[in-house]
Symmetry: C2
Subunit: 147 residues, 2 copies
DNA sequence: GTAATTGCAAATGGTTTGCAGCATC
DNA sequence: GATGCTGCAAACCATTTGCAATTAC
């Protein structure tokens, strides 16, 4: 495992332990898979990976761990109403995404123009803003080539 | 009905007729309610309003009309994975929103900083971007006051 | 030993679908 | 009169929940 993922994993494990949550083999596997993937996997995808190591793991268990991490702000949930939610444990805070509507690929390149937007919105409306969603939908270069 | 809503309604009716869709009383009621509300109503909300005029209307009919309008790009769908979708027939193109996580209020004030974001994202990633979602979540002034 | 977690199966909830009867054009 | 629409009920599907058995600490 690369050092960055390793460090992030350790960070999450410690936070769980600190709050007296238990580190079961299934749960640890979910964490490992999350920190090793930069593809913003769905629960179903994580589940498939976990089962390679622990074939008896249930989908509900993966959902429960992911939900727990979300509540601890250790994973960012990208919810979609017409398809499965996707998760990001590497950058568990709001940031811009580009999403390919054909293959489902999700990338999160830095967007200069995105800074200060929440502040501008807050100033204009008086809302106390706690999070946001900056998603751009389109066709990725790969899918453009494929036609 | 205010002139702006009236004009928008006419526009949508003409577009439907042009494509040989029928203007039934239920469908017209859905259109009227949509152009009269700037609150980004849910299907359920539209349904409740429609039933005041046509008590036998079914929820499925409202869903079907809204889906039709969405496919014709005459309504903007704001999909949410953990609550009902909301619809905007007045500005049926992507634009920024602030959403109160307490009362569900949705506003769409102009955001200067939002211009050119899609272009920047496209330039940086090579994606062919067709739509986007700029949502800010927080507590509205009313709910802040209520505590 | 105790309290949390697992895994199963059933429930949830917003949305979609199939289809017979009806209404618009 | 033909075609599209309505309304009902059933299906969908990602996610959540209840609970008895198991396991981490």
């Amino acid at each position: 495992m690369d050092p960055k993922a390793q460090a992030r994993l350790q960070q999450m494990v410690e936070k769980l332990k600190a709050q007296r949550f238990r580190i079961t083999p299934q749960r640890l596997a979910v964490l490992e898979i999350l920190v090793e993937s930069d593809s913003h996997p769905s629960v179903e995808t994580v589940y498939a990976q976990v089962r390679k190591r622990f074939p008896t793991t249930s989908l509900a268990t993966v959902y429960k761990t992911v939900t727990l991490l979300k509540e601890m702000n250790e994973v960012l949930e990208l919810g979609f109403h017409n398809t499965a939610n996707r998760y990001d444990a590497l950058k568990p805070y709001p940031h811009p995404h580009v999403i390919c509507t054909q293959c489902g690929k999700i990338l999160d390149p830095p967007l200069e123009g995105a800074h200060g937007l929440a502040q501008e919105m807050s100033r204009k409306t008086g809302f106390l803003i706690s999070s946001h969603r900056l998603d751009f939908y389109g066709i990725c270069p790969d899918c453009q080539r494929r036609g």
